[in-house]
């Protein structure tokens, strides 16, 4: 997976100032981890199948938290 350019990360932080840096780190980690699982062999074991489902669920939660929360800090205090 193509790494995130530091300029892009800064822009992302500017656009979503309420996004926690640790959330962004975890989000990037999960996006990358997705490709370490063979998508054609989720039947490799219940553990692998469960891991795939967990990654996608957590990604959706993080995506909501980072990108769909109010991006204006003042809005959060209203």
């Amino acid at each position: 997976m193509q790494p995130l350019n530091p300029d892009e990360r800064q822009a992302l932080r500017r656009e979503h100032p309420l996004a926690a840096p640790e959330d962004l780190d975890r989000y990037e980690q999960l996006l990358s981890m997705r490709f370490t699982q063979d998508p054609n062999r989720p039947q490799a074991g219940p553990e692998a199948h469960g891991l795939h489902r967990t990654i996608e669920q957590e990604l959706q939660e993080l995506h909501r938290r980072i990108f769909e929360t109010p991006n204006d800090a003042s809005a959060a205090t209203e």
Partner: protein
């Protein structure tokens, strides 16, 4: 009418090691939705040709100033077959959607089963061809970030055996599913090489992972603290660890660590090459064991 171009013939033998560059006819938007739209790349042949040229130049070390010349190695480079496919009549369907637009990021994601079936339908200069790694090139208006799936080997298939820390593996001659990459037509820097190294690696015989996040164990990544002096023993050769991750350092919460670099002044190709102190990703080279491993995998496939 499809335009299949044999850009480089490679070694004169059967099943030459082959890289295929494809104009992506359709996008699944979003990925895994079952909804398909036309990919703008089909309306822009010049953008496709330009991307193909850049990817080829990057892989073969022809980009001015590029330091990692792994495929430019004279025993590898001239023996690689390169084929491009442009099919303006492929239409918009699940079968022609070789790339998906991720619903939770701006990643382009290769649809590997569709790519496998798609390339099997073409011939180059009258002959069918076996593909090892394919790039699906998109001009998505919204998604620009590249990604790759590793190769899926055939369990128990023939190849060149190797050992890693005493465990036995194989650089397989053939694949079940080729290594696949989804990449944007605006591609630059060393992204084509970074993604190629993921794609040529294997889910069961050594995966090459990203080093810019705290990754789980892989061929090029280990986990544990303190970082030991030696990273691994690959085919009886000992490789040292990188105690400091070049100048970037390992963040305090990380457990992963990497192999020693060829040039410790700059991040590894599989790390965040945008953070090179020179601000030039082209300065980045591999760590020592990744260089050896990727070279060996290509050479094994060339030996089939």
């Amino acid at each position: 009418m499809a335009d299949v171009i044999l850009r480089q013939a490679g070694a004169a033998k059967s099943d030459t090691f082959t890289i295929c560059l494809i104009a992506n006819p359709a996008l699944e938007a979003p990925w895994n939705s079952g909804a398909f739209i036309a990919d703008p790349i089909i309306g822009n042949r010049a953008a496709f040709d330009s991307a193909v040229q850049y990817i080829e130049d990057c892989l073969f070390g022809r980009v001015a100033g590029m330091k990692e010349l792994i495929i430019a190695n004279p025993v590898i480079g001239p023996n690689v077959r390169v084929i491009s496919i442009w099919d303006g009549a492929a239409g918009v369907s699940s079968a022609s959607a070789l790339v998906g637009q991720d619903g939770v990021s701006n990643l382009l994601i290769a649809r590997r089963n569709q790519i496998k079936a798609f390339v099997a339908g073409y011939t180059a200069e009258g002959a069918s061809f076996f593909v090892d790694v394919a790039y699906a090139i998109s001009m998505s208006a919204t998604h620009t970030r590249a990604s790759a799936w590793y190769t899926s080997d055939i369990p128990g298939a023939a190849g060149i055996p190797f050992t890693l820390d005493g465990a036995a593996f194989t650089h397989c001659f053939y694949n079940d599913i080729l290594g696949t990459i989804a990449i944007h037509s605006s591609v630059s820097d060393i992204t084509p090489l970074h993604e190629f190294q993921h794609a040529i690696s294997s889910y069961t015989n050594g995966g090459i992972t990203d080093l810019y996040v705290d990754s789980p164990p892989a061929f090029n990544c280990k986990v544990g603290r303190p970082i030991p002096p030696n990273f691994c023993v690959y085919d009886r050769a000992t490789y040292i660890s990188d105690p400091s991750r070049d100048g970037l350092g390992y963040p305090s919460g990380w457990n992963s660590y990497h192999c020693g670099l060829i040039d410790a002044r700059y991040p590894a190709v599989m790390d965040n090459y945008y953070t090179a102190s020179s601000h030039n990703p082209l300065d980045c080279q591999n760590d020592t064991v990744t260089r050896a491993f990727v070279s060996d995998k290509i050479l094994a496939k060339m030996a089939r």
